[in-house]
Amino acid sequence: MTGIENSRSSHALAWDERVAAYEEEVRANPWRKRLREFTRNKLLFTGSLLGIAIVGLGLLGPLFLGSDYAGQSLRNTHLPPFTDGYFLGTDQYGRDLLVRLCIGIRVSLLVAAAITSIALVVGMVMGMCGGFLGGYVDRVVRSVTDFVWGFPLILVAVLLAGGLGQGLLPVILAVGIVNIAAITRVVRGEVVVLRTKEFVEAARASGVSNFRIMWRHLLPNVMAPALVLASYYVAVAIIAEAGLSFIGLGAQPPLPSLGKMVADGRGFLRLNHWESTVPGIGIAGLVLSVSLIGDGLRDVFDPQLRHEAKGVEKG
């Protein structure tokens, strides 16, 4: 065999170089490709743009318009957009709709952020413990999540509102609990698969503590699917908060919540439908941008779902 190496011709060496160059390119490709997908992914791009626009309006709007969302002006009620200096018009008490929209977006985002961070942290901890530790811990985690998972979110929220009274707290708790269950399920499923992988076995065999394995080896691997999932649950949280505020259980007046604003405008659809349509578009835009981002993230991070023609040619 050594004969081959000694007698390598210039042809063979040139060929080796070409293959090496190609392989280098392929090796560099996954990241380059992923990055390119990130920028080229239409869903992600549209979603981010829409998201930035809405969040920007919510955050920056009040800096210029002031944040007097409760200021009434009974002479200027039910104004349509672009009248008397009110960019989006006014509501039944003559409150500036644009200012209320901005604050409403802030409320939506804050509630969604609170819910999602609770759900993400608790869900990841529960899912990782259940999936990795197994045994009775897993049994408890599974029965609790299976139990919660089947329940409709709105019903849980109404129940808690029945106990705690109306306001944003029961909304955050209820949606949080249901989303925790959702994230726990997925993280647990991932971890159960990861647990049998060589790198985990190896770490365990060399005496690394459970906590360290979870923190150093499992967490980075479940992060991507958990984040993709979380982006969907941001949308769920926004819709739930808006819906509950709409029926009067969420944000209490005069704090503007997008859902509550839609409800307030309801009685004046014929008179000035903008009072309902504007916050409605706000909610739909927020949710649409979050779900587009979620779809895009899934495409980038979870190629399994994207390659529908998998397992094609092997031989």
């Binding site: 089947g150 329940f151 808690l160 029945g162 409605g280 998998k310």
Partner: protein, 306 residues
């Protein structure tokens, strides 16, 4: 069989645990229960006597058993606000809710599954892309806002349908469609991906090699396999419809269980809130069990094990 039996035991346990959870959740507010029934001017002694009469001063676990005993014996009590018997309210409003929820549940599958199948068969065509973008948008539109748009368009503008009320077929259309909307969108996506997965599977290749026609393979084998995951999530769809019914019934003034429950919570009419929460929770749990049984029937791998 073993699977079905163990699910039944599980369902009973879930029913028990959730009844406890509902009972405690509603009682979180403690003594506030008197606020709804009694005028603000009522004296403290009078309130105390009222609590005594309702058994609110007993230990809470005892209250739970007394309460469940009364429910099981068919006398869950009366509303605090209008003193109506809860059983009467259940039969009145329950019927309405079943009509609305049943229609929506039917729509979810009768509309969602065919659309998903069309999208999967014409993959990447304009029809597929149209259906998929519609479903993305449909999932982003909150149903209460959709309800308002629908009322504005079909009731106020066009005058084709009533904006609210009960209980004729014309009154049913708008709330049922709104209630089913998100479920349809989810079912479309699920059907499509499940069909595509099934189309790409090895057994379909085997059937093609056996010379069966594409049409036959799709209608019989692909569809049958693709339906299994869809049926397995029917339980979630039931839960979703029950949840959204609270909002949609309120908007359309459809006198069902959801509307009654929301009003009871807003008015702190806790016997009503408690009882109807229990009813809805039980409905969800039992619905899940039924869906699970359907899943077992559809999936031979669970039906009998050898």
């Amino acid at each position: 069989m073993k699977h079905t039996a163990s699910r039944l035991v599980y369902t009973v346990i879930v029913l028990f645990v959730s009844s406890v959870a509902v009972f405690y959740a509603i009682r979180l507010s403690g003594g506030d229960a008197t606020a709804a029934a009694l005028p603000g001017s009522a004296t403290e002694e009078f309130r105390e006597e009222f609590r005594d009469r309702l058994g609110l001063n007993e230990p809470i676990y005892q209250q739970y058993f007394t309460y469940m005993g009364r429910i099981l014996s068919g006398d869950p009590g009366n509303s605090l606000t209008n003193n109506k018997a809860l059983t009467t309210m259940l039969s009145e409003h329950g019927r309405n809710s079943l009509i609305l929820g049943g229609t929506a549940f039917g729509l979810v599958f009768l509309v969602g599954v065919p659309l998903g199948i069309v999208a999967s068969l014409r993959r990447n065509s304009w029809a597929d892309q149209g259906i998929m973008s519609m479903s993305t948008v449909a999932m982003a539109v909150p149903n209460f806002w959709l309800a308002l748009l629908a009322v504005w368009l079909f009731a106020s503008r066009l005058g084709w349908l009533p904006s609210a009320g009960c209980c004729g077929p014309k009154h049913l259309i708008l709330p049922a469609v709104v209630l089913a909307f998100e479920g349809i969108a989810l079912t479309v996506r699920m059907t499509r991906s499940s069909m595509i997965e099934s189309q790409n599977s090895d057994y379909v290749r085997t059937l093609r090699a056996g010379g069966l026609s594409e049409w036959r393979i799709t209608c019989k084998h692909v569809l049958r396999n693709a339906l299994i995951p869809i049926i397995s999530l029917a339980g979630l769809r039931i839960g979703q419809i029950v949840g959204y019914a609270l909002i949609v019934e309120t908007i359309f003034g459809w006198p069902g269980l959801g509307q009654v429950l929301v009003n009871a919570v807003l008015r702190r009419d806790y016997p009503v809130a408690q009882f109807f929460s229990l009813v809805l929770v039980a409905l969800v749990v039992v619905g899940n069990w039924v869906a699970d049984t359907g899943y077992t029937i559809a999936n031979p791998r669970l039906r009998k094990s050898s």
